[in-house]
Subunit: 491 residues, 2 copies
């Protein structure tokens, strides 16, 4: 245990090439990740998981000198980010997509990788449909519904105030942690609001945010989640969490967010092994042995950067520390799918609409303009998450498609029925994610078991967006977690 | 899919032997389970998991004719039951131990296997220690604490009334399911009681019951759990759940509860394969292929009888139905350990004490007389679960031992310090249980995802105590679930 054995540095042929490049500041290779063939038997650091977090960690480690090998279960990198190429060649995202202010680490990475961003389209009016009334135009984050506005104002104020009492790196130490972790977010909202429709509307925000509903998470977890949506100088706020311009949905990525991982993997070359699901991790105090479908690799350190339920599924020898195991058993992935309807043009823009809509009716509780940066086609994107997913995510595709287009038409006019393409991606179907966008915590979990979230286990360190103290659940959190894990391993 | 192909019946040599015996009513073999060597490549039914539930299912199937193979990951059968032999040869349980009225299926199985039961010692007084006051003697289920008695009476009445509104086979259809599943049990207790100490005392009951605290489970899950603690004619009640005589802790098993599984495995002979963890389950519509560390077996049907988090860890092809996967991700195992202190004699009995005690102080929130039937030695047993486990389960053994004995001495006198042996078993350390005694559900889970709990997945059927509609979490529930799964496969 302790420091890496740097004596083996660069002795590993192709695997070390990325490290050698990195050491000279030349991490600009275009080699491909390996997809078949035997893996090296020894490497300094194995990274489990080729999403953003794992690749960031690997890149940092390679740049510092040690040899590294990323083992990715899928035949692609990117984890919960996934590009989809439309018929006209434009790229949209089937997974994580948005970046915004205070997400400094992912923004820095984008700059470093020379990937551009563009503003999420937010001109014109949003649309609000609720209480059986006709669609109503509005601007800003909170729909101007006179029946819920007083509640919403109180909720927003209290969420912001209370979340600032939750330390992002130790939410279980908040003065009210025991009370806040005993209560579901649903019960707290119910006790804080007057109009029951307020609680209903909030699901339109929570379902995309967490792939879950207010009843599924504890108040403490939610307050922590809000607290993390900022940085050291700018405390997280509900406004930033829910907002488009200047909020968490401020900007998108030219070429699609998966490009972040693709670029990093290109630089790492054959230090990234695809089709290599990890089945077993054994450690003996001085080395750690990782068994994957493509072979067994022994390392000095391992970084695990995969969703919590997948960590439980690895055969650990010795077993994970029981308290951490209990934590991970209590971190289910959210239930979320993303659907895109494609049109010849973004016709709603011409009508002075942003493409953003909020509704109290399933299947589309919230949608966004998801056009490519040149708007060469029009794309409307809806999240179907949590309770809405449990219902509509399990209906036949044709029925769901019809339901989605019917609501798009309600929001933006009958042209929305004339989609030229319809694309959907359900993250609960992903073997190597088991859901999305993030793992949540119900009542009792964070208070009792949360403190183990980043505790190294012998030679094993933890990355993945769930382990970040800022923007957990976002690409920025993935970057931060990867950087921290790399620093632990290198330090 | 559909009915078994009985044409292969009894063509499988040793594997079919148990079936042949069974068919003639002769399931009395004493052959041993296999521990090494290749498995047959084909069998009618594979059962994953050699706990009570899996073995019951296998025995039923073998008795009906089809060949069966039980794949057990451990080098022993019994799952969450585990015998421990004391220095004098007496057997006590490190896992599930108690049986009681309305647990008809496990009682019938015991009779069939010619295993005797004996009454849990319940003569004399129980001991109650709370609020910093000296120990107080009492009888019955609820300590006679005047500060909590009014609360306890209200709680008990309401728990019983409300639980009777929860259908044991479909709790998500209860009229108040949405409300009850949005609320943590903790918040409901808080809103239903006057004295905060009532909620504290209830943890002494919940921590052994669930390996969890009131904040960890939803009100709906808890009401369902109570509802299941009965049978078709006798609705579950809090009294039966918490009670010793005539309750869930009424009786114990001569020879230890693991004997149930050992006897069944003896009858099944080499139709039980130990050291055979299952890694992958693939199905194609007509056959299902199970990959274990001891080989690959193809079958017509599979019954999976392992704890929910272990189901998630199997590599499923195709992936589990997403809604079921979401359910299983939300069913963490409880955190529970059992500790036994052994004495030359059950000295407390002579003092007119039952050996049962309840305390508001950790580590011993509740303890029982755990003497062997002949009382050849004295044994006191304590449960350390939930929040108490999160603290004391993670301290050094010596510190925990001292804390346990100190409390035993407080309850039963200074002789309790003179233990001749001290044994503990922590179920969170068990690779093939991942906790104990049962998987719980936090807010949101049962309402949204619970309906998938027993839904077959193609050729795969589900057993395990968590899938039972009566006595889920108990040995009786394991028997019922195994019987139901066998009936599904045979039907």
């Amino acid at each position: 245990m302790g420091r890496l054995d740097f004596s083996r540095r660069n002795l590993l042929g192709g695997i070390a090439a990325a490290g050698a490049l990195a050491a000279t500041g030349g991490l600009t290779g275009t080699a491909s990740a390996s997809t078949t063939g035997r893996l090296p038997s020894t490497v300094d650091v194995v990274v489990v998981g080729g999403g953003i977090s794992g690749l960031v960690a690997a890149r940092r480690i390679a740049a510092a000198g040690p040899s590294v090998l990323v083992l990715e279960a899928r035949d692609r990198v990117g984890g919960r980010t996934l590009n989809h190429t439309l018929a006209n060649g434009s790229v949209v995202e089937s997974g994580g997509a948005f970046v915004g202010p205070t997400q400094d680490r992912v923004l820095a990475l984008l700059a470093e990788l020379r990937i551009q961003t563009f503003k999420e389209y937010a001109q014109g009016d949003n649309v609000y449909v609720a209480n059986g009334l006709p669609p109503q135009r509005y601007t800003g984050t909170i729909p101007p519904d006179p029946t819920i506005l007083p509640d919403a104002a109180v909720l927003q104020t209290r969420i912001d105030q209370m979340s600032q009492q939750v330390p992002v790196d130790a939410p279980w130490t908040a003065a009210n942690a025991a009370d806040w972790d005993a209560t579901s977010l649903h019960d707290w909202i119910k006790s804080t609001t007057v109009n029951p429709n307020t609680a209903k509307l909030i699901e339109s925000y929570l379902q995309p945010l967490l792939g879950a509903d207010a009843r599924d998470v504890s108040l403490l977890f939610f307050l922590w989640y809000i607290a993390t949506e900022g940085d050291e100088r700018n405390p997280g706020t509900f406004e930033r969490s829910a907002g488009t311009s200047d909020g968490a949905q401020d900007s998108r990525i030219v070429g699609g967010s998966q490009l972040i991982s693709i670029r990093m993997a290109q630089q790492l070359g054959d230090a990234v092994a695809l089709n290599a699901p990890v089945r077993k991790i054994s450690q003996n105090g001085s080395t750690v042995t990782v068994t994957s479908d493509r072979g067994v690799v022994t390392a000095s350190k391992v970084i695990v950067a995969v969703p919590p339920p997948l960590v439980v599924g690895i055969d650990w020898d010795p077993l994970l520390p029981p308290k951490r195991l209990q934590l991970l058993e209590r971190m289910p992935m959210g239930a979320l799918m993303k659907v895109d309807a494609v049109y010849d043009t973004p016709f709603w823009r011409a009508a002075g609409l942003s493409g953003m809509a909020v509704s109290d009716t399933a299947p589309v509780r919230v949608c966004f303009d998801n056009c490519p940066p040149d708007a060469s086609v029009g794309v409307l994107m809806a999240f179907i998450g949590g309770a809405t997913w449990a219902d509509w995510g399990n209906r036949p595709l044709a029925e769901r498609r019809a339901g989605v287009l019917r609501q798009f038409a309600q929001f933006f006019g009958p042209q929305a029925l004339n989609a030229i393409d319809y694309v959907e991606h359900d993250w609960t179907h992903e073997r190597w994610s088991l859901g999305g966008p993030v793992a949540g915590m119900g009542t009792g979990t964070m208070l009792r078991y949360g403190s183990t979230i980043r505790q190294p286990f012998g030679l094993v360190h933890w990355a993945g967006t769930e382990t970040s103290t800022y923007w957990s659940g976002y690409m920025d959190g993935a970057v931060r977690a990867g950087e921290r894990a790399a620093a632990e391993v290198l330090g």
